[in-house]
Every structure is written in C-alpha cells, then in structure tokens.
C-alpha cells in the first residue's frame, strides 16, 4: 500500500502576469506523492512552495497561468484541466488545506462547530445533526478539551493553538486523501507546535492520508517528513528521503540552509549565513538560479541549468558538482560531519 502513488506532478510551470511583466513563479517542477507519506517542501519566501500548493488546490490568483503541458495527475485525473465546478468536488473533500495563520483562516462570525461541520454537509449526504455529531468527534480527535462545551464558541474566544486545531479538524472533516499544510505551526509557540505536530501525525496514521507539508523550518521537517523536496527560485533543487537530505545533502543550497540554522549546540561566531538574496523571478537567471550566492559555483552554473543527477534511487540533486567532470569540492565542516554520520549509518546497515 505504501508505494501507491496518489499524486503525480509533471512539468508544472506557473506564471503570473503582472504590470511589471511575467513572474515565473514555478519553473518546471515534477514530484510524486505516495499514499500515507509526508512530503515536506522546504524553501524560503518566493521559492514557489506556496504557489505549488495553491495550484494543487485550484486557488491561484486570476493572473496565474498554468502551462499547457503541465500535468497534475490525482487518482488518474488531470487537475490542471479542471473548471471551477470540478474543483469544488476536489477542494476540501479529496484535497484539503491547513493554512498558516489560524487567526485569519477561520470565519470570525461563525461558530466553530458549524465551521467544522460545513465541509461534511457540503460533501456528504448527511443531516445537520449527524454533521454536528461528526464535528464533535473531530474536535476530540484533534485534542480540543471539553468539545461539547466549546462547540458553540466563536474563534475569538480561543487561543492560537486551539484555533489551529480547529482548522485541522475542518481539513480532516471530509477524510481527504491529501492534506496540504502550509506552514501550519509557524505562528505558534514551540510547545504548542510540538503538540500540533504530534496530533497531525496521529491523525495521519488514523486516516492514512498523505501530507504535503510546506515550511521553512528544517527542525520541524526533520520530525515530520518521510521525504523532503528543497525548492529554490521556482525549482526543486534536491529531493530525497529525510535521512538523505539531512545526512547526505548534495546541493550547495541545501548545505547553506542546514548551516544557517543554529542548533542549541552551535558555538558563537560559527553560524554561516548564505550571502545575498534570492533572484527576481521576473528575470530569472540563465544558469543555476543559486549560482550568484553559491561559493562553490562553477563557470557552467552561470551558463546552463544543471539537470538532476542521481544520488540514489530515491535521492536526486540538481547541481553541476555531481557531474563527473566537476572538480571535487569540500563542503563546509558541519556538512562533512553530517556526511560522516551518513557513512556510519550506511556501514551499520541502517
């Protein structure tokens, strides 16, 4: 069961027409999602991770255009060709979404219980009483204490963590095949974040749903993901299993991301920042988009986009450093430590 592919994204290209010109937000990405797995998409703002998820929900702004030959195969159907009516059957039912900010993603004028029951009423043929009964069960599932007493509360009466639980309950209400979580814990405190992540994992195990988890926090990813895709400037630059990305990273951008995040063991003065800022996607660079910020960039990086090089059956990275003609470079020391750990893990046959 685990290897059933539920979603296949092929050659996705999304542009936005703006006054300034055409912003190339997604510049040809492909990935697949298996049943029951959690895929994390990591990247900074402007990398295209949120546009990817909005495309999967049919929620892009009106000036967005999906290229003709892009395909989003979900259970045998191509979502990119759906009209508004078609999307209504999918959205909130088969693919549901949890947004970043629980303060703005709930309706302030509607009781929380009703908001949770809404997708059930919309997509299932049940009475209002049955829907409320299910809403109550969902509230228990996501860990809302004394749900009976609080089912008629309004969002403003709840804390951020509790509201995010309600948002997740709404997303789970129709028992979706795919749950898209766009930075669901970024607005929350660490202790609440830990609770929410644990709850999401429990619910995933119960419903066998697949999760696409969008975040910029590599700590959160390490805890929740089975596989990771790293995005930069509208492209996926590296993807692999969570262990492969953390212990055997190959792309210099992945190195930079791992290095620029301190852990509680990081000594003062040893934090490596990635210099510069991401490119303007109105005028994406000719070669590797990361080349200008990359201390390991080769001459060809400025000329030609690197293809994906295979590291293992599940691990690919788009960097010319993996080409056999490329010179051998030594990554920063913390990355070497991670490689060493990977080497040890392989030796032990983990």
């Amino acid at each position: 069961m685990m290897n059933d592919t539920i979603l296949q994204v092929k050659d996705l290209v999304v542009d936005f027409n703006t006054y300034a010109g055409k912003v190339q937000a997604i510049r040809n990405i492909s990935f697949d999602l298996k049943k029951g797995e959690t895929l994390a998409i990591v990247g900074e703002s402007g990398s295209g991770k949120s546009v990817t998820t909005k495309t999967l929900m049919g929620l892009n702004a009106e000036n967005a255009r999906i290229a003709e030959d892009s395909q989003l195969i979900f259970k045998g159907n191509d979502l990119s060709k759906l009209d508004a009516k078609g999307w209504q059957k999918i959205r909130g039912n088969e693919i549901a979404m949890v947004f970043q900010d629980p303060m703005t993603s709930l309706d302030p004028t509607m009781k929380i219980g009703q908001q949770i029951a809404e997708p059930i009423l919309k997509h299932q043929n049940v009475s209002k009483a049955e829907a409320m009964e299910q809403a109550l069960k969902l509230m228990v599932g996501v860990g809302i204490p004394e749900p009976k007493e609080h089912i008629n509360d309004y969002p403003h009466q709840w804390s951020g963590g509790m509201r995010q639980r309600a948002v997740i309950a709404i997303a789970l209400a129709a028992n979706p095949d795919i749950l898209i979580a766009d930075e669901p814990t970024t607005a929350l405190d660490v202790t609440i974040q830990a609770q929410i992540l644990r709850m999401m994992k429990d619910q995933q195990a119960k419903y066998h749903s697949s999760i696409i988890f969008i975040t910029h926090d590599l700590g959160v990813v390490a805890g929740i993901a089975d596989r990771v895709a790293v995005m930069y400037a509208g492209k996926i630059v590296e993807y692999g299993t969570v262990d492969e990305i953390y212990f055997n990273p190959q792309h210099p951008y992945t190195w930079g991301l791992l290095d620029s995040m301190p852990t509680t063991d990081t000594k003062q003065g040893s934090l490596e920042a990635i210099p510069g800022t991401p490119p303007d996607l109105l005028y994406p660079p000719k070669g590797d988009a990361f080349a200008n910020r990359n201390q390991f960039a080769l001459a060809i990086d400025h000329e030609q986009q690197p293809p994906f090089f295979k590291v293992s059956d599940s691990h690919y990275a788009a960097t010319w450093l993996l080409d056999e003609r490329a010179p051998k470079v030594t990554p920063p020391a913390p990355i070497l430590q991670r490689w060493q750990h990977w080497h040890d893990m392989q030796a032990q046959g983990v």
């Binding site: 900074e44 703002s45 951020g160 405190d189 660490v190 202790t191 609440i192 974040q193 830990a194 609770q195 644990r198 910029h216 926090d217 590599l218 700590g219 959160v220 990813v221 390490a222 805890g223 969570v242 262990d243 953390y246 212990f247 930079g256 991301l257 791992l258 620029s260 995040m261 301190p262 852990t263 509680t264 990081t266 003062q268 003065g269 934090l271 490596e272 920042a273 990635i274 210099p275 800022t277």
Partner: protein
C-alpha cells in the same frame, strides 16, 4: 565572551506592571522581576507569546510606566526620568522591532528614517555632516549610498531590518532592545542579520536585550538568558548552563519542544509537559542562586531539590 561582572548597565529591581490597575479587567503583566544586564553582554529573553517578554522590554525603555519597582539605567531610575534626563536616556537606549514592514514609515526616504534620531537629538553639525553620518551607517549595515534616497517598499525584508538597525545605531546608543528582530525574516537571511548584530555589538561595545521565541537563535547570540512565563522570570543563567542544565520544569519543557534539524534526534525526542499549577499554589518564591550565576525562582525546599538535581 567575557563579561565584566562589575559594571551593571541595567538593574531591574522588583519590577511590577499591572494594566488597567484597579479595574475589573486588570492584568498583572509583570510580577516582581529582578535581574541585571551587564555592560557589553547580550541578555536573551525567551518565553512563549503572552509571557510578558515584550512588555518587559518596553517597560525598561519607559514605553510603559511601571506600577512598582525600580529600573536603574547607569544608576538612574528610569521610571522617574523627566525632561532633559529622559531625552538623554532615549538617546542611549534604542529598539529594533520585529516587523520590518510595519516599523519603517513608508512615506519617508531611508536617509530621513535613519537620520530622524540625529535630527531630534541635534547630533549633526550641518547637512553635509548629516549626510556623511547616514552614509557611514548604511555602510555599517551592509547597504550602499544609492539606497539612501529610496523608500522602504523598494527593499526586501532583510534589507529593511538592516535599515532598522542603522536607525537604532544612528544616535550612538549604549543599549539596544531587539524585540524578535529576525522572526519575520527568511532562514537564510536570519543568519545574516544575527551575524551583523553580533559584529556591531563588538565594534560599538553595545549591550543587547535580545527578545525572541526562537530558542536556538537566542542561545546562539546570548551570553546570559532569562526564561519568562506568565509575567514571571523563572530562571536566569549563563546561556550554556540554562540550555545544558535547565532547572525549572518549565524551562525543561520549553527546551524539549525545540525542533532540531536532525531526523534521528527527532525520532527519539521525548517531549516534557509542564504542569503550571505549581505557579499558583500561593507559596512565596524568590530567585535562588543554585549554580554559578544560575538563578531559579523557587521556595527554599524546591531550591534544595534543584541543587541536588544539578549534581
């Protein structure tokens, strides 16, 4: 990093703050807080939202009037400052804000934003001197002279935060409170800004109060750390001591919740839950020194337990 323990820049003694005092909706935001900030150190303040860390920062800068207690800055009680002395204090202490989009006036040019403090405190002898100071500040924070005549919307989040830092430095302060200065920035840019703040601190011998909820970043930049919860300071100590040997159960729970970029560690992670009921049991607690410079809020009995715990 060595700190000169003899010179205290800020001394906070039994600080209390109640909003809406005497009314039914009174909120006891800060409760009996005492700690010192030494000259040249980075004091990190951590806690969850609503713990009072921002309120504490603002009260120290006299943006809120304390309800009780003392805040001594260079020996002077901030809560009683008026007129000229207050104006001098405003020059010596500055703030860097969380949201670089909201904290810069979008109708002002960058040079005027940066020079506003210089103008108010009459720190420039002439227009040429003012321009020269602005250019120097832009250069310090890694921007260039072309940026001076632009407006904030033309900059990225990281660049705006640099402008905010330049503005704070413009009046040559001794003390800077940075309230979540990097939480609105991208990961790759966060490290740039933190490293910049660290460099400037050394160059200008600044003292920072660094407020954040990102515990790893606070640990990275701070010499000493204070942990806040529900308006109280629960634990203070050297950064390494607090992180490696946390004493208070709340600190333990907070640290156990930090996600780390290591899948193996994450798989083995044990979250510790904190039961806050002990905080409202009505018992008298005070700050007790348990380790070297490592204080925890405790009753005498609890203090004994913590001491044993540490060994």
């Amino acid at each position: 990093m060595t700190t000169d323990k003899t010179s205290k820049l800020v001394e906070i003694k039994n600080l209390d703050l109640t909003f809406n005092q005497g009314r039914s909706n009174a909120v006891h935001a800060l409760e009996n807080i005492s700690f010192d900030i030494y000259e040249g150190e980075v004091f990190g303040l951590v806690g969850e939202s609503g713990s009072g860390k921002t309120t504490l920062g603002r009260t120290i800068l006299k943006l809120y009037q304390a309800s009780g207690g003392q805040i001594l800055f260079d020996g002077q009680d901030v809560t009683k400052l008026k007129g000229r002395a207050l104006s001098d204090f405003r020059k010596d202490s500055q703030m860097i804000f969380q949201d670089p989009h909201a904290s810069l006036n979008s109708r002002m040019k960058v040079e005027d934003i940066i020079a506003e403090g210089i103008d108010i405190h009459h720190l420039a002898k002439s227009k040429a001197d003012r321009d020269a100071q602005v250019l120097h500040l832009l250069d310090l924070v890694g921007l260039n002279k072309d940026h001076a005549s632009r407006y904030p919307h033309e900059f990225s989040g990281g660049q705006r935060q640099r402008i905010g830092i330049a503005r704070a430095l413009a009046v040559d302060p001794k003390f800077i409170i940075a309230d979540e200065p990097i939480s609105a920035l991208d990961v790759s840019v966060q490290a740039q800004v933190v490293n910049l703040m660290k460099d400037l601190q050394k160059k200008h011998s600044l003292t920072y109060l660094f407020i954040a909820h990102d515990l790893s970043m606070v640990k990275y930049i701070s010499d000493r750390i204070g942990v806040m919860h529900w308006g109280k300071l629960l634990e203070i100590g050297p950064a390494d001591a607090v992180y490696n040997h946390p004493l208070h159960p709340y600190t333990k729970s907070l640290l156990s919740a930090i996600p780390v970029p290591d899948p193996e560690a994450e798989r083995q992670r044990q979250a510790i839950t904190y039961n806050p009921s002990r905080e409202s049991d009505g018992q008298e607690r005070s700050m007790v020194e348990v380790g070297d410079g490592h204080f925890v809020l405790a009753t005498p009995v609890e203090a004994e337990e913590y001491r044993k715990d540490q060994k």
